[in-house]
């Protein structure tokens, strides 16, 4: 339940920031949103009430599903690279980072 509430807070904050006009705020919004999505992946592997999936260190019967954690790791790497790219885009424009259309 804690995880579900936490995901809700992250997504709410992320949506609020993504709806702002500044590119840096949008980027931070996506950081929160991708954290939310990654926690959803983790929670799909029932991490809440099971042990860490470490071979030889935890009992296989009690261990959480390792596959969604691997998914989350992949998703974190992708989200990280796009965050860097978005910050570069924010810096590439003239003046400030406003996305407003000034034509």
């Amino acid at each position: 339940m804690t995880l579900a509430l936490f995901i809700g807070v992250l997504v709410a904050g992320g949506v609020y920031l993504v709806l702002q006009r500044g590119m840096v705020r949008i980027t931070f919004g996506f950081v929160l949103l991708s954290h939310g999505a990654n926690l959803m992946l983790i929670s799909a592997g029932v991490a809440a009430r099971r042990d860490e999936p470490l071979v030889h260190l935890s009992d296989l019967a009690d261990a959480a599903d390792a596959l969604p954690q691997a998914f989350a790791l992949t998703a974190i790497v992708i989200a990280f690279s796009i965050t860097i790219y978005m910050l570069a885009l924010a810096g590439a424009g003239k003046g400030d980072d406003d996305t407003e259309d000034r034509t």
Binding site: V18, M23, I26, F30, L33, S34, G36, A37, N38, M40, L41, S43, A44, G45, D65, L67, P68, F71, T74, A75, I78, S81, I82, Y85, M86, L89, A92, G93, T99, D101, T103
Partner: protein
Amino acid sequence: MNSALLAVLVIVPLLAAALLVVMREPVALRRVILLGTNAFALAFAVWLVVETWGGQVLGHNIALWPDGIAIPFVADMFSALMVVVTALLSLVCSAFGVASGDDDRHYFAPLVLTLSAGVYGALLTADLFNLFVFIEVMLLPSYGLIAMLGGMSRLSAGRLYVTMNLLTSTILLAGVALVYGAAGTVNIAELAGLGKESPVVGAAMGAVLIALSIKAAVVPVHGWLARTYPYTSPAVTALFSGLHTKVAIYAIYRLYAVIFDGDSRYLWIGVLVMSATMLIGVLGAVGEETTRSILAFHMVSQIGYILLGVALFGPIGLMAGIFYLLHHMIVKASLFLSTGAVEVAYGTNELGRISGIARTEPVVAAAFLGAAFSLAGLPPFSGFVAKLTLVTAAISEEQIYAAVIAIIVSLLTLMSMLKIWKGVFWGRAHEDEVHAVSARKPGALLTHISPSLALPGLVLAAVTLSLGVGGQLLLALSEQAALGLLDPSAYIEAVIG
């Protein structure tokens, strides 16, 4: 054929891209590697079609990991046909990029190759999470391409493009998480039929399908496409139009056929949404004033036609949809390339700023006219075969309204194609172009577009003509692909058998 070879289609372009990042000289060799890799992929894809003829399905778990953990690669007739057209478009658009000077930027060639590797992976994988990863592999180079090439407005277009795609990818990822939570697997074959049987999996898959629909630019979430595609370079617009939205469409076909087993309870939503997409897309094009933005809105309209095929389901509906998908990828890229050739040579794509191109550039004008007639659905081009089978399918599934809308939209399509024809190709040549009268042959107007720039659009226009005249072959192939979707047991067996 050894099905382990499927991975070659992803590995070779990625290796070539890595090589081109570090190897900056000589330029000629760089071009040979770029075009050669694409040509190799095309040859490989044709071979895949031969191997999957008659319902054969090739499947392989990468590195022979056990089912469930492995990355499964599968090729049946549908994915093989998609790979063929993808490879053809990458080859032709790369050639156009070389001719138009886009490849002066060192990163053009590696980014295009990485993009195509992502598309091949997304078309071949049979795992939802892997689909997400390959879609990201496809999108990351696109972010670079859209921000690197094009006019001044490319930066704001790039921001919109990144923001929209990242939001959609996040929804897709959340959908994949929900599917895993509900079913305990994200292997498409293991999920087969669960969307129909289990409402929880069905709802989770709904999130995945919504994300894919946004990526496919279905009305009412189509606005991003028309506001981003026209602002990069013509070669990149053509490449995006051919590949990006089509991967999402392919995934919608595949997932609805295998995981939902063609569940007829939800089909009415598809018919409704796709009819709206057809109509609103074509009406959006009316208000646009540049060639590429008109074509971008038409793409939205055509996506409605393509996805109407999956909304009709049934053997004729799927066959018509797949035929339409393949036809559309080729025709749209041809239109973007022939108007792009004019844009590169004359420096503008606004209607009315240039005219009389048909007199100075008869070859490009002929290529445009052929592809435009094909888009509108006139014989003898492939668009006629595509529309005829789709309308026949709609009538046989008793979706009369959808059939009527499809026919009305064809007329509107023809109208706005004529708008481009009138605004760019028809009329008298402007005065500044009359100054370009050849000095050696008085009276003859000088052609500005070099043959290498005109050829890509012409080749694709010739392909659509030959697919119209010899439509029987592609219809037979599409029928095999449709049968593979209607009865996915061979596909499932190839993945987890």
